[in-house]
C-alpha cells in the first residue's frame, strides 16, 4: 500500500534526522489545544481551590511563604558577596567571567500519556523564543530539555526519560560523568564510572556544561547507591533526580548567554555524549 510506504519513509526520516521538524511543529501547533482542554479540569479545580480557600489557610500559607522568603533573601545576600568574590578570583586567574543566565517561566499544560516516555507539554513556544535543545529547570534542579517547538507550546523531555542523558560532575571533587535517564521516576544512572572513582552516596551531581547543551552548575541529582562488583568493568551508580519531576507546575526555560546563538542541527559535542534525544 502506498500509505504504508509513505508511513515507513516518514518514520525513517523522522527518526534519523531533523528534516521533518517543521512539519512536526505545524502539526503540534494544530494539536496543542487538545492538551490545553485536557488539562482544563485540573486547572479549574486549582482555581476553585484558590478561590474557595479559607482565610486561615491563606494566612498560614502567607506566613510560610514569608518565612521562606526571609530564608532565601538571607541566602541571596551571601550569594551576592560570593559572586563578587568569584568574579574577582576569576579575574586574578585571567579566565573569562561566566555570564548569568536569563530565564523565562513556563507552565506545564500537559503530560505525554504513554507510560514509556517522560515528556511534558509547556505553554511557551517559538513565539516566545524557545528553541530545540534549550535547558529547562525547576525550582530544585535540572528538569529536562526542549525537544519539539510549536508556535505557542513546546515539548520537554525529562531527565529521567530513557532516551535522555546529561553530562554531570560531582560537586565535591569535579569528577565527570554522564547521568542517563532510566525510564523510572526516581532514578538516574551514571554511565561509565570506573570502579576506582571517588564517588559516594549523598554526593550532589551538578550539570557540568560540557557538550554545550546545558548550562553549568545546576543540580541534577543526589547519589543514592554505589555498587562496586569485582566482576564488573564499571561501578553501578544510581542517583535521585533533584528536580520535582512529577510535582512541578512551573518550570524555567534557561537562556544561557552561551547557548542563545542559534546552532546547527548537529552541534558536535565536546565529548561523545549521547544527549541528543532520538
Amino acid at each position: 500500500m502506498a500509505l504504508a510506504i509513505v508511513s515507513a519513509l516518514l518514520m525513517t526520516i523522522d527518526v534519523n534526522s531533523r528534516l521533518l521538524q517543521p512539519m512536526r511543529s505545524v502539526l503540534a501547533t494544530i494539536i496543542s489545544p487538545i492538551y490545553v482542554i485536557a488539562e482544563s479540569p485540573y486547572h479549574v479545580s486549582r482555581e476553585a481551590r484558590a478561590t474557595l480557600s479559607t482565610r486561615e489557610s491563606l494566612m498560614a500559607e502567607n506566613t510560610q511563604l514569608e518565612q521562606r522568603n526571609l530564608e532565601l533573601s538571607t541566602m541571596a545576600q551571601q550569594f551576592v558577596a560570593l559572586r563578587e568574590e568569584n568574579a574577582r578570583l576569576r579575574q586574578l586567574l585571567g579566565s573569562r567571567q561566566r555570564l548569568g543566565a536569563e530565564v523565562l517561566v513556563a507552565e506545564l499544560i500537559g503530560v505525554i500519556p504513554s507510560p514509556n516516555t517522560y515528556q511534558v507539554e509547556i505553554d511557551k513556544g517559538a513565539a516566545d523564543g524557545v528553541f530545540i535543545g534549550q535547558a529547562v529547570i525547576d525550582a530544585e534542579g535540572l528538569f529536562g530539555q526542549v525537544v519539539e517547538v510549536a508556535q505557542f507550546s513546546s515539548r520537554v523531555m525529562l531527565v529521567i526519560d530513557a532516551a535522555h542523558a546529561v553530562p554531570v560532575q560531582v560537586n565535591r571533587n569535579d569528577f565527570r560523568s554522564i547521568a542517563a535517564g532510566t525510564g523510572r521516576t526516581d532514578r538516574l544512572e551514571l554511565e561509565y564510572v570506573p570502579v576506582t572513582a571517588d564517588i559516594r552516596v549523598g554526593d550532589l551531581l551538578v550539570s557540568s556544561g560540557l557538550g554545550g547543551h546545558f548550562p553549568r552548575g545546576y543540580p541534577v541529582g543526589e547519589v543514592t547507591a554505589v555498587v562496586v562488583e569485582p566482576t564488573m568493568t564499571y561501578a553501578q551508580v544510581t542517583a535521585k533526580p533533584s528536580a520535582a519531576l512529577d510535582r512541578s507546575r512551573h518550570v524555567l526555560l534557561v537562556y544561557d548567554a552561551k547557548t542563545e546563538q542559534p546552532k546547527d542541527a548537529d552541534p558536535a559535542p565536546a565529548d561523545p555524549v549521547p544527549e541528543e534525544p532520538k
Binding site: L10, D14, V15, I31, S114, A162, T185, R247, K278
Partner: protein, 164 residues
C-alpha cells in the same frame, strides 16, 4: 436525503477520543496505571469504519494518525500506519464484524489494539531506547472492556444526529 451528513459529529468524536487519550492522571498515581488506558482512538475509528465504511476512509485515518503521532511524541507515521492498517482490516471485513455480537467484536478489538500497540512499541524500540514488554496486553484488554460502552454511546450519537 443528503448522503454525507454529520461529518462534524465524526470529527468531534475523534477529538474527544484524543482528549481522553491525553487526559493525565492526578499526580501521584503509580506509572503502571497509565497502561490501563484503553486505546480510545482505535475504538472510535473502528466503530466509524465498521458503521459507515463509506465515510471514514484510509486517508482520513492516516491524517488522524499523523496528528496522534505528534500528540503522543511517537515517530511521525507510526500511528498513521496503524490507523490506516486498522481501517483496511475493518473495511475488508465490516459486513462480518457488524453481524458479530458485542462480545465477539470485543475479541476483534482486543486483537486490533494488540496489533497497533505492538507496532507502536516496536517503533519506539527501534527509534529510541524503549523496551519490549508484555504490558501491551493490558491496553488491549482495557479496550475490550471499554468497547461495549463505546459502541453503545457512539450508536446513540449516530442515531441522534443521524450521521450517514
Amino acid at each position: 436525503m443528503n448522503p454525507t451528513r454529520g461529518g462534524w459529529v465524526i470529527l468531534l468524536t475523534i477529538v474527544i477520543a484524543m482528549l481522553l487519550a491525553v487526559v493525565h492522571l492526578p499526580a501521584g498515581t503509580p506509572a503502571w496505571v497509565g497502561w490501563l488506558r484503553p486505546s480510545w482512538l482505535v475504538l472510535v475509528v473502528f466503530y466509524w469504519v465498521m458503521a459507515l465504511p463509506h465515510r471514514f476512509g484510509m486517508i482520513s485515518a492516516w491524517i488522524t494518525g499523523l496528528l496522534v503521532d505528534v500528540l503522543y511524541a511517537d515517530p511521525l507515521g507510526v500511528n498513521g500506519f496503524c490507523l490506516a492498517a486498522l481501517t483496511y482490516v475493518t473495511w475488508s471485513f465490516y459486513e462480518r464484524f457488524r453481524m458479530y455480537s458485542v462480545a465477539q467484536q470485543g475479541v476483534v478489538v482486543f486483537l486490533l489494539v494488540l496489533g497497533t500497540e505492538f507496532i507502536r512499541m516496536c517503533a519506539q524500540w527501534v527509534s529510541r531506547d524503549g523496551t519490549l514488554s508484555f504490558w501491551v496486553f493490558v491496553p488491549a484488554a482495557a479496550s475490550t472492556v471499554a468497547w461495549p460502552l463505546v459502541a453503545m454511546v457512539l450508536r446513540r450519537i449516530r442515531y441522534q444526529f443521524s450521521v450517514e
